[in-house]
């Protein structure tokens, strides 16, 4: 008997889970061996009676692409400003590269940053704007063409900044951040205001920058973007941390298996069959929805593939014909919403 499973669920379905596991192990290993590039303890910022950042404990391991996510007004930008010495903490402490936040001159030469919108002099060309930063930062002027090339602005460097599109302005901002060949790159909402093509370009740029080796910290409220780029997450809400750890760890609890039978009347039998494997399932819209959060088989390589095979064989043995068997990868949005609806969760830290 030919199973329809092959048609609806290719072998690739098992790969993401395995990859996620490897990512978790890799990121965890990095966090333990190299130590955090950024670490805050009880970091707090108050403006009058309003607490914007509330006793934030955060760690960013070396070598990761870290997403710093939270809704607008959650305190992301204020936190980044404190990390960059622009804003003084009201309480708590923090370190970047092991140097305290109250002495930013000790670590900022190793940091490149784009905070909020890019800021340049409209009447100067892109090149001249970067030259100003080179002079101020004591960088080598030969870096200007290099970074312009890196962000795809080599042919527009001599044009005035005011003639640039929003996407080009963002890229010039990143070029400025790269001038010092940083080992920590901090990007605050780099896709803000960009159209879909600009967002895609920015995502690819961030990915390629991360491949060059620096630790990257990207703040965003666009969860789908963060999910595609980041392997480490710090989630904050109302100035407080609600999650910290590998992205894959947050997502792992929210994958879902969807099963559909040729005869919908078989769904209760299928539900019982799945329940025998310790999986919780609910019937809805003519399908069986199985939460994979607690599937023990997923902890081992190829575990998802074996689980799918077992369910398929068991269904066939019970004379239940499956017409759909698919795994829906969890979205960061689901994970985030689940997090913010629950009490704060400890991640890897």
């Amino acid at each position: 008997m030919t199973s329809p499973i092959d048609a609806v669920n290719g072998p690739a379905a098992s790969e993401p889970a395995d990859l996620d596991q490897k990512k978790i192990e890799k990121v965890d290993a990095g966090a333990k061996t190299v130590g955090p590039v950024v670490e805050t303890r009880g970091l707090t910022k108050r403006y009058g009676s309003r607490t914007v950042v509330d006793a934030l404990d955060m760690q960013i391991p070396a070598g990761v692409v870290a997403g710093f996510i939270g809704p607008n007004g959650a305190g992301k930008t204020t936190t980044l400003r404190m990390l960059l010495g622009l804003v003084r903490p009201s309480g708590g402490s923090g370190q970047v590269f092991g140097r305290p936040l109250d002495a930013p001159a000790g670590y900022l030469p190793r940091v490149g940053a784009l905070i909020e919108s890019p800021a340049f002099y409209p009447e100067l060309s892109g090149e001249r704007n970067l030259a100003v930063q080179v002079a101020l930062g004591g960088h080598n002027m030969t870096r200007v063409p290099v970074v312009l090339e890196r962000v795809g602005l080599a042919d527009r460097g001599s044009d005035r900044y005011r003639t640039y599109s929003l996407g080009m302005k963002q890229r010039l901002g990143i070029a400025g951040a790269l001038l010092g060949d940083p080992t920590l790159l901090i990007l605050d909402e780099p896709t803000n205001g960009l159209d879909p093509a600009g967002i895609r370009d920015m995502r690819n740029l961030v990915r390629s920058l991360a491949e060059d080796g620096p630790t990257v910290l990207v703040s965003s409220h666009l969860l789908a973007e963060v999910q595609q780029v980041c392997d480490w997450l710090v989630v904050i809400e109302k100035g407080r941390r609600v999650f910290q750890g590998p992205t894959a760890r947050l997502l792992a609890g929210h994958d879902e298996l969807t099963l559909a039978c040729e005869n919908p009347a078989d769904l209760p039998r299928l539900q019982t069959l799945v329940a025998r494997r310790g999986l919780a399932a609910t019937v809805g819209t003519g399908r069986l929805h199985v939460a994979l959060a607690d599937a023990p088989a997923l902890d081992t390589p190829g575990g998802l593939t074996r689980l799918l095979g077992e369910i398929n064989r068991a269904a066939m043995a019970e004379q239940v014909t499956l017409v759909e068997l698919s795994v829906t990868r969890a979205s960061l949005e689901n994970g985030y919403l689940a997090l913010t609806a629950e009490p704060p969760t400890e991640g890897a830290s």
């Binding site: 400003r81 800021a119 930063q133 101020l136």
Partner: protein, 265 residues
């Protein structure tokens, strides 16, 4: 600080700055010189220090006659310098570039000092050009008005050229320091210029109408007195000491604010 200066100089090489601010300063110097020589009278007029813009032909024939127009212009140039220094700092906040500057140079005192020195270096160059243009115009106008110029090119005349330039630069520094402080404190171009220019120009003069001692104490009037080499109300040394005290106070307040305040724009 050298890096900050270099960066600021790169920014200042903009047409708006060169042709706008620089051109305006040169234009003031030229206009003041033309008016000085065009309105020079042959009859004796009351002339003490810088109170009067009108000179006599005899006075202009003195060793200091060559730079008389430039000296008169220096007070007005001071207001332009105030605007230049104020906007140079407020525009950094307006554009958000202050964030970038502080990321590249987190030592804030060095950043501010470099900026101040770069602007002063530019003003020094423009004042030199202004004195040169004013001098050339004075020579041409002196010939047309029959004003003797023999005393201008004596040692005393050249000392006047040097001291008038130094004094103009000092006045520009005073206005610039106060301008930068107002910019640092307000962080807003309209607010800084509104407060600064309103205070330095009409308000102080209005106060002076009802308070005779205002010329001894109010900063704009004191700076103007330094530019003019003293007035009937205050002597040059007294005006200079008061002006330097204002500048020191402004510098301390501006630096402290720049070092301490959050940059959350």
């Amino acid at each position: 600080m050298i890096r900050s200066m270099h960066a600021e100089l790169l920014k200042l090489r903009r047409p708006a700055i060169i042709y706008g601010a620089g051109g305006a300063m040169l234009g003031f110097a030229l206009l003041a010189t033309i008016l000085t020589y065009a309105t020079a009278t042959t009859a004796a007029v009351s002339f003490v220090g810088g109170d009067s813009l009108t000179s006599t032909v005899g006075q202009l024939g003195q060793p200091g006659g060559l730079t008389r127009g430039f000296t008169i212009a220096a007070g007005f140039i001071g207001l332009l310098v105030f605007v230049l220094f104020t906007t140079s700092i407020t525009s950094e906040y307006g554009l958000g570039t202050i964030r970038v500057l502080l990321l590249k140079q987190p030592r804030r005192a060095r950043l501010l000092a470099g900026k101040l020195l770069a602007l002063l270096a530019c003003v020094a160059a423009v004042l030199l050009a202004a004195e040169l243009i004013s001098g050339v115009a004075a020579i041409v106008l002196a010939h047309t008005r029959g004003i003797p110029t023999a005393n201008w090119f004596t040692a005393a005349g050249l000392r006047h050229v040097a001291s008038d330039y130094a004094n103009a630069l000092l006045v520009a520094s005073l206005f610039g320091t106060v301008g930068m402080t107002v910019g640092v404190l307000t962080r807003s171009t309209p607010l800084a210029l509104g407060i600064g220019l309103a205070w330095l120009a009409p308000l102080e003069h209005l106060i002076q109408l009802s308070w005779s001692g205002a010329g001894n104490w109010l900063p704009g009037l004191v700076f103007a007195a330094v530019a003019a080499g003293g007035t009937t109300i205050t002597t040059y040394p007294r005006a200079l000491i008061t002006a330097l005290a204002y500048a020191a106070l402004a510098l301390a307040a501006g630096t402290l604010s720049f070092l301490r305040r959050d940059v959350s724009i």
